[in-house]
Each structure stands twice: as C-alpha cells, then as structure tokens.
Symmetry: C2
Subunit: 351 residues, 2 copies
DNA sequence: ATGTTAACCGTAAACGTTTACGTAAAATAC
DNA sequence: GTATTTTACGTAAACGTTTACGGTTAACAT
C-alpha cells in the first residue's frame, strides 16, 4: 500500500527510471509504444510524483509562508482567504504561523520559514515588530521574496516592499461623510502614537477637519490601548460627560466602535440621531450590531490576492519584488450608525 | 549568499559530508577536535540543515494539512489557533486549504495533501461532504492519520476517528437554563434535516423539553438554510406573529440569533424580558451585540489542540489513530439575552 | 612480532526525481 | 557496403541529507 515511485514502474516494465520519467513527461526521445506502456502502468499503480523529491531537485517548494498576529481577526481571515484563492490557482500551498503580537515569535517564524525553504514570506506585522527593526532587517534575505502587509517599516539599508490599504484616503472619505451628514463635532478614539497605522488615521482625521474648518478639540481625541468593547464603552461615556460634547465618534476599529455604541446606549444617547459612530475595517461585527455600524472597508481579500500575485511574479526571478509600497483602495460603507436620514433597505456590501 | 550545505563545510575542512554530518550530530565516532572544527565552521557559515532533504530522507514532512469550509468563521479560527499552538510546540507546521463548502474541492485538497506528503490530515467537513461519502472513503489511506473534526461520518468499511464538541450535552444544558429561568415556550431555529449536526441539536432540544414536560409545538421549530442575519430576523418576526407565541428562541448559530435579536427589536419585543434568545457556538458576536447573547460555547481552541495531540501520538506508529469519536465538553455562557434577573458585572468568558 | 581492538574517518547507498551525456541499433545516405 | 544520421534508451550525476559498512592507523595485549 506504499506510494509507487518511478522505480516501481521501471521494474514492472524492465526498464530504467530515466525512461519512465521521460515517458511521463512526453519527451520526444521516447517511442510511442514505450510511452503507452509506461503510462498504462503508471495509471494502474496510480503513480503521483513525490513532491518532496521535486522540491529538493528544483530547490523550490511551492509553499508560501505567512505570519499574522491573530487569526481570529476578521480582517486577517479576509486577507488569508484572498491569499489562498490566488495561491491555489497557481499550485502553491500556504504555511501559516500565528505570532500573537509577540515580535520575537515573529522573528522566529521568519527564520523557520527560511529553513523550510518556502518560496516567499508574507507578514502581517504586529506593532511591536518595529521595535526590533534592526534584527528584522538583518533577517530578510534577498533571494526570497518578502512582503510586509498593512504596515510600513522603514529600514536603513534595505527597502522592503509592502502593501497596505489606503487608510488616509479611507479616513478622509469617512470624515467627509460625517461632515456631509451634518455632524459638526467629530471625536476620534485613536491608537497609540507609536503606531504608524494609528498615526496615519489620525493625521487624515486632523487634516480633513482642518481643511473643512471644523472644530478640532484635543479633548475629543483619546488614545486606546486595549482595543476592546469595554474600552470603547468607557471612552464613549467619558466623551459624553464633557461639557462640550462631540456629536460624532470616529473609532480606530469596529470593536471599539461597538463598545462606543454600547456606552452611548447606557448613557441614553441615540445613534445616529444624537451622535454618529464610525468604525474602521468593516468587520463582520458592523452588520450585526445595533444599530448597524458604518465603517471604512479595507479590501482584505483584494490585498491577499494582490500580495500573492506580486510574490509569484517575482519568485521565478529569484529577487525581491519591485520595491514599491502598494496602496489598495478603501471605501466607506454607510450603515445606520451615521445616517440621520433612514437608510432604505440594507446596505449589504459583503457577499 | 546561497544556503550553506554539508558539502560546503566539508570542503572548507578538507573532509567529507559524512564526517560533518556526524560531527554535527555529536556521534561518538568523531573526535572532539574534529567536532569542534566542524561546529565552528558550521556556525561561521550559519549552517541550517535543509528541511526538504530531511523530508525526503526520512519520509516525513513535519507538515500537517488542514481543510476547512470558511476561514472567516470564528469557530474555525479558534480551532486553527489551537492547532497552531500544539503543532508549533512539536515542530510541526500547518498547511491550510479553504473549501468554501464545496465537497469536490474538499476531495481535491485531500488528494493534494497526500501528494504533498503531509504527515496527517485534518478536515472540518462541510455538510455536503457526506454526499460523496463513498469517494471520501476510498480516498482515505491507512498509513497517514486522518481526523474528522466536528462532524461524524459513518463509513461502510472504514472507521475514521473524529472529534467533536458535545452538542447534545451543551444543548441540553442550554435548554435547561432557559427552563430554570422561567421560560416556558421554547422555540428552535434549526438546521436542515440532512445535517447530523443540526439533528443532534434538535434531538437534544426535543428530548429536554419532553423530559421536563414542556410544550413541544411543531410551529416553533423552523428550518434555517441561509444561516445569516436576515434569515434570523425574518424567522423571529414569523414566530412572533403566531397566535401561540414562544417566549424563548434557541438558535442553531450566533449569527441567526443576532438576526433574531434584530427581528424582535423591530417587532417591539423586549429581550430578555419578553423573549429569551440563546445562540450556539459562543462566537465573538455574542459579546458585541445588544443585548449580549447567551450562547453555548464550543471549545474550539481545545478541540484544535486535542486534534493535533491525537495525530502526533499516532504519526510515529504510521497507523491511523484510535478509532474513537472523541467528544469535548461544551458550556452555556450566560449573558443578557436569557437573564431576566439583571446580570451583575459582565461575563467575560473569553480572555 | 603478531593478533586484537579501539578510535576515527571515508565510501557509497538511499530517499525520488530530472537531465546531460553516452551508446547501441536501426534507418538513411551515397 | 560503408559512413552518417536518427531513434531510443541506459548511465550517472545532481539536489542535501543520514547511516551501514569498510578501511586505516595507532594502541594494546600476548
């Protein structure tokens, strides 16, 4: 019941593995009669080439390694799904590793993947990874494509390509949407200042308010660090206890936004009539909470697909991919939480 | 900049790869001086054994393949995370494939994984897979451990081990909880009758009602087939339009339950005062919806870990694992949607 | 001085492929 | 009928390991 090899077929036909191999590959130097006999036996034994042997021979594993902080984040699963689709189309398999926001594990996994002869490495870095930037830089090899997703890390020596969603554009569009809907005092629950991602979103928020001559109140900008529902709830209540209350809250993530919704409800404040709430990422939560949450859609699946396409186009050239930072379009998905005028029908963006 | 091999080290030391290999493995037949010299050079060249070559040599890949229907389901990510933890501990990597509920893709992926020489295969089958039971049965080999997760498929010839959560027990506990809280007319939005999973939950629901002399009204048992929010919403409204209204709704999934919450709100019905809602799976949705949703927790992470442990314990024996069907404990997580008496504090089950 | 043993290392086969090179027989050329 | 080409296949090396087996030298025993 063991797997049949070229040797088995060769023995059965009293020939050599070279001939068998060539016959199966339809090489011209093999006679038709031999080809037929070989194929017949191969079929009979249901021969399948040994992938490991091929890997060794061609120094190519048809495997792509991807590292992410946490699998249970909707956005991560979307990106991975996109990768799986595109990788599958091209005969590649995905090896996965979860870092749990531990930068040392991230470095470990990168090393491991190199040792496992993956053909490319993708990483969705945690914020902390930039703390060991120098170590990371030393680790990255030039012979195997490496791609950083959704985060831009500036190295001293190397330029490593990256792909990310257009958070600045998306945020701008989102804030504009709030302004267009008549909200005048827009607050922002932002991420830590050490996070490029959080900064980009904050800058977009700030710039957009300035450009539109809106009030930019420092009391309305609060740092998150737990990014969970409880934090959103607490911060919403804090915002509502200000003398000069905001009438809209733009949140760094959907989970925080859901917390805000909950906090506002506890404070007896109506959404979207009194206060609008805008999330970020357009996760699956946005459609199930009450009221449904407007959010800035990050094209996870598209990013995943694009990532793999980028890598594959360069795997064969054995050099790292075009050193650009690719930016993918975002989009504001309007739902109930920001719509003073009732929405007609549901906005079912997701399929 | 190419990877260093045994050959490189051997050449540098004017010896042979055999000696180098043995020195690195601290074999007794190598002198200490040679060992030191070899290790020094190996270190200098930062030698790492080639995993592909080892795979070929030992006919072992240290890779485990897992197939699941959809990555973006919270429960799936939980199971996978558990697998990743346990696999990582043992030096195994996970290869993943998403079937999108397509049974032919599932069969395809199984074949592919066999060809890729994975050391074990895990599958979270879609309901449809049982439709091609015979093909599946023929595919499964005896020399590589195979494990079915969260679904029991009875084969004619083979007995394939499986692991699943105790849905019967969990449901029983859940219905009892409803009864204990004074709900007397319990409805059930169930899955299709072709689904073993849905049937188990229904049977538990039915048995528990009978055992407790509760009303078992056929009008209160409705089939779902879309399992999305809209369906839950519509069915809730339908239930509330009955003359003999239920006062509790047990749902096949959290998403459906969230839809029910929404439908009840639209119908102006209070939860949990008028009607209780109980979900299944205890997904991340349960904590963010309003009111928060009581749900039956399936131990995803534990199932993932246990699965890998089972497989690993049998990989070395090159035979399939103990042919039992392992059942993992479930648990009712009580939140607002079933608690007529206000909950004190939040029930933060998840870490 | 010879045999025995231990210490140490090299040779080569094996895992399953692909393919450059060599070679025998058959076919073609003149 | 000999030279040349073509056809068709075998040999062996290569990918990077591990390891059974063999061999050489030196130490030790008798």
């Amino acid at each position: 019941m063991t797997k049949t090899t070229l040797k088995d077929i060769a023995k059965a036909l009293n020939t050599t593995i070279a001939t068998v191999s060539r016959a199966l590959h339809d090489k011209p130097e093999i006679s038709d009669s031999m080809k037929n006999r070989v194929k017949e036996v191969a079929n009979l034994y249901s021969y399948k080439p040994n992938a490991t042997a091929l890997s060794l021979k061609f120094q190519k594993s048809y495997r792509i390694g991807v590292i992410f902080p946490k699998l249970s984040h909707y956005y991560v699963t979307q990106i991975l799904s996109g990768m799986l689709i595109e990788a599958g189309k091209n005969g590649y398999k995905m090896l996965i590793a979860e870092s749990n926001y531990n930068q040392f594990k991230e470095l470990e996994y990168i090393k491991e993947f190199y040792e496992l002869n993956v053909d490319a490495i993708l990483i969705l870095p945690s914020r902390k990874l930039s703390l060991v930037k120098d170590k990371l830089e030393n680790l990255i090899r030039d012979d195997i494509p490496f791609l950083i997703i959704d985060r831009i890390i500036k190295f001293d020596q190397k330029t490593v390509p990256s792909i990310a969603s257009d958070d600045y554009g998306g945020t701008t569009e989102g804030i504009k949407h709030l302004i267009d809907n008549g909200y005048k005092k827009i607050a922002h629950l932002r991420g830590e200042e050490s996070s490029t991602l959080a900064n980009v979103r904050y800058y977009a928020y700030r710039d957009c308010l300035l450009k539109n001559n809106m009030e930019l109140n420092p009391d309305w900008v609060i740092l998150c660090n737990k990014f969970n529902k409880a934090e959103g709830e607490a911060l919403a209540i804090r915002l509502m206890s200000l003398e000069n209350r905001p009438d809209a809250i733009f949140c760094i993530s959907d989970v925080v936004a859901v917390g805000v919704l909950s906090g506002l409800k506890k404070a007896g404040i109506r959404v979207p009539e009194d206060v609008a709430v805008l999330g970020f990422s357009n996760s699956d939560l946005a459609e199930v909470c009450y009221p449904t949450l407007s959010s800035i859609h990050q094209p996870g699946v598209a990013i995943g697909k694009k990532s793999i396409r980028l890598l594959l186009s360069n795997i064969n050239m054995k050099k790292n991919i075009s050193r650009e930072n690719i930016v993918m379009k975002t989009k504001v998905i309007v739902r109930e939480s920001t719509s003073r005028i009732a929405l007609s029908g549901t906005n079912s963006f997701r399929t």
